[in-house]
Amino acid sequence: MFMNRKEKALVITICANFFLIALKFILAGMSGSLALKAGAWHSFSDIFISGMVLVGLVLSRREDLSQSKGISRIENIVSILVSFFILYIGYEIFQEVIKGGERIVSQVPIVIAGAVLTIIISYFMARYKIFVGKETNSPSLVADGYHSMVDMYSSIIVVVGLTGYLVGLKNMDKLAAVIIVILIGLAAVEIFTSSFQALRKGGVSDTTHTSLHIKALETYLRPIKFFILPILIVIYFASGIYVVKWDQVGIEKRFGRPIETQVASGIHYRLPWPMGQVDLVNTANINAVETEPALMLTGDENLIEVNTSAHYFIENAINYRYRVKNSDELIRYAIESATRQIVGQVDIDSLLTTEKEGIIAQIKRLTQEILDRTLSGIRLSSIQLLQAVPPQDVINTFREVASAWEDRATYLNEAIAYQNEIVPASRGKAAEIIAEAIGYKNQKVNHATGEAQNFLDRLKEYKKATDVTQTRMYLETIEKILAKTDKLIVDSRIDIGSTDLWFVRGQNAEKILEGVK
């Protein structure tokens, strides 16, 4: 396809612009700079305008095509859509700017060098287009040249923003991004108006008149040059605004000397860098620290494995921040040292069992003492004895002691059970014995009473006929007795004294008697 000089210049600069956009996106990705990102999108809008100019030129050269309204209409509609897209991008970046939070930009020096390169490229592109445009009498190319000039300015703003960031004005990058977003907006409006007008009038869009806008803008903006310095100064002083969050205490310093040590939460002002500085210390947070398990010597020279943890907060921000360099290590050492010392004062049994509470309180007191001695500004809120166990090598014997203690309890329980059984049983037996005795006593008395009465009754009757009754009773009894006995009745004439009487009784009687026969 044949190209004239103007078109060639445009094609070359469009290619250069693609390179520029790629470079800016890469730099933006590397550093995280918002200004660079905005700049890249600005270059994109620029490339689009160049494309529109190119299309216009080609169409104007070929009369036949320029008559076909269809193509230019499509072109204009696409342009309007693109203008909306660019506007949206500008809005997105603006959102990112307001979102707040400290934005960390890295590799700043390298990125600045890259940005300077983009300035140079933009500059030569702009000069080239304006030069060719003037030579060939093409107002639209000249106008495009001015667009590239604006792109160059945006790159300059990026460099200024990054440099500001480098010297400590952390918000300069964001500010630069905002300015570039405004430029993006202008470019979008420009594309929109020219395309919209072309659509209304018919024919190709003409960016020439918009270049007049830019020229007019430049004349308006010229006085701004005088304001740039004041604005920069205002920005510089505004960088002294800082925020103390609710859980923080701020310490404001001037040339390193503290001038306000209790800055409460809220928005405050200090002198800008490098005169004023602010240190923020978190005082509301409770921090936790834990020691490694370690073998410690107890007061009775046993070894025990102990580890503790502590919760603490910063009571005195000044002392914490300015008196002790490595507070984290200090507090860990202090706890370990205090624990060791207290463990060295108690015997292993009280540590393992009964006196943990008291021991923890002692550790806390001593740790606080150590921390106070070093003016650390730290206050302990609590200490926990996470672990206090005998070393692995001896733990079995400790368990053996525990089971011996259980055995002891078992023995006692068995004995108490025996006691509980035997004492009531004896009481029962005693009651039985006594009851039996009472029975015996009553029996005796009752028998006696009965027999006595029996005797008295009989006596009464006996008295009435003494002689005969006596004889009757005698004979009745004798009769009963003699009925079952062997009897030998001897005549009174036989002299019993001179008579031998043999009585054989029992089982052998028969035999003996036979023998006698």
Binding site: K253, F255, G256, R257, P258, L295, L297, G299, N302, L303, V324, Y333, E336, S337, R340, Q345, D347, I370, L375, P390, P391, D393, V394, T397, E400, V401, A404, D407, R408, Y411, A415, Y418, Q419, V423, S426, K429, A430, I433, I434, A437, Y440, K441, N442, K444, E451, A452, F455, L459, Y462, M473, Y474, T477, I478, I481, L482, T485, D486, I489, D491, R505
Partner: protein
């Protein structure tokens, strides 16, 4: 660009450089020593803005003035009672005289090297003077740890005075037996535990026996009390019976004797008894002849 513009820029650049070379800030956390051709000439210990002759005539060195703790290496010592112990201590120190500090130890790592030597040797001396039993003990009166550590801090300070350093505190982080001694300590701990276990068991048996004996005693007492009471009751019964019998029989002893005799005869004369009855006895009076 006009000459004037170039000049303006040059003046600004030089001014900026000069400000940096002459003025310096001193933070609250640091001391600054101004050196002239490398030789310390003065120290700035108050925070704020200061000035000096520009580099390279005078330059500055900054030193952190905050308290620092660090851990020298673990070391083994011998106590007075000849016990091997492993010790890890930590000194908390800070720079008090930055010029002396710069002259003698140069920087923090130099200072920590000296400190570690000095504290370690002081520890060695101190442990040689104290028994282990006065450093770990349950007896508060014997406790000499604080006294010893204060002594170490004092003596170490005496030695680091010339280095522009102050030792605020020296504390023991680890105080234990060396690895090779631990086995015998464990052995002892085991023996001790076994002793306690045995004690618990025998105490248990002892208590149990006492309880059983007490129970047996109680049983005996209860039963004997019951026996006593029973005997008394029986006695009362017997006495009552005797009295009642006596009261009744008193009325006619002769009749009683007669009755009782009859009863007795009935009882003791059984079928094994042979009665020899003479015919002239009262019983057989009518047996021989009906007439008297």
């Amino acid at each position: 660009m006009s000459i004037r513009k170039i000049l303006l820029i040059a003046v600004i650049a030089v001014g900026f450089g000069a400000v940096n070379l002459i003025f310096f800030q001193v933070d609250l956390t640091e001391y600054v020593v101004v050196t002239q051709f490398g030789k310390p000439v003065r120290a700035v210990t108050d925070p704020g803005l200061n000035w000096k002759l520009p580099d390279p005539i005078q330059s500055i060195q900054r030193f952190d003035n905050r308290l620092t703790v660090f851990l020298p290496n673990k070391a083994e010592f011998l106590t007075k009672d000849k016990k091997n112990i492993v010790v890890e201590s930590y000194p908390a120190w800070k720079i008090t005289n930055p010029i002396e500090f710069l002259k003698t130890v140069k920087d923090v790592s130099g200072a920590q090297a000296r400190l570690s030597d000095i504290v370690s040797s002081e520890l060695g001396v101190a442990f040689g003077k104290y028994d282990l039993t006065s450093l770990v003990t349950t007896n508060k009166k014997n406790m000499k740890l604080k006294e010893m550590m204060d002594g170490i801090t004092r003596n170490s300070n005496e030695k680091v005075k010339d280095y522009g350093i102050l030792i605020v505190d020296v504390r023991l982080k680890v105080l234990s037996f060396p690895e090779k001694n631990k086995l015998s300590v464990f052995q002892r701990m085991r023996a001790e535990r076994e002793k306690i276990a045995r004690k618990y068991r025998s105490e248990g048996s002892e208590e149990a026996s006492k309880i059983r004996a007490e129970a047996d005693k109680e049983k005996t007492i209860i039963l004997s009390k019951a026996y006593e009471k029973a005997q008394m009751l029986k006695g009362e019964g017997d006495a009552g019976a005797i009295r009642i019998y006596a009261d009744a029989f008193q009325k006619d002893p002769e009749f009683y004797k007669f009755l009782r005799s009859l009863q007795a005869y009935e009882k003791f004369i059984d079928k094994n008894t042979t009665a020899i009855l003479p015919t002239d006895s009262e019983l057989l009076k009518y047996f021989a002849s009906p007439k008297k």
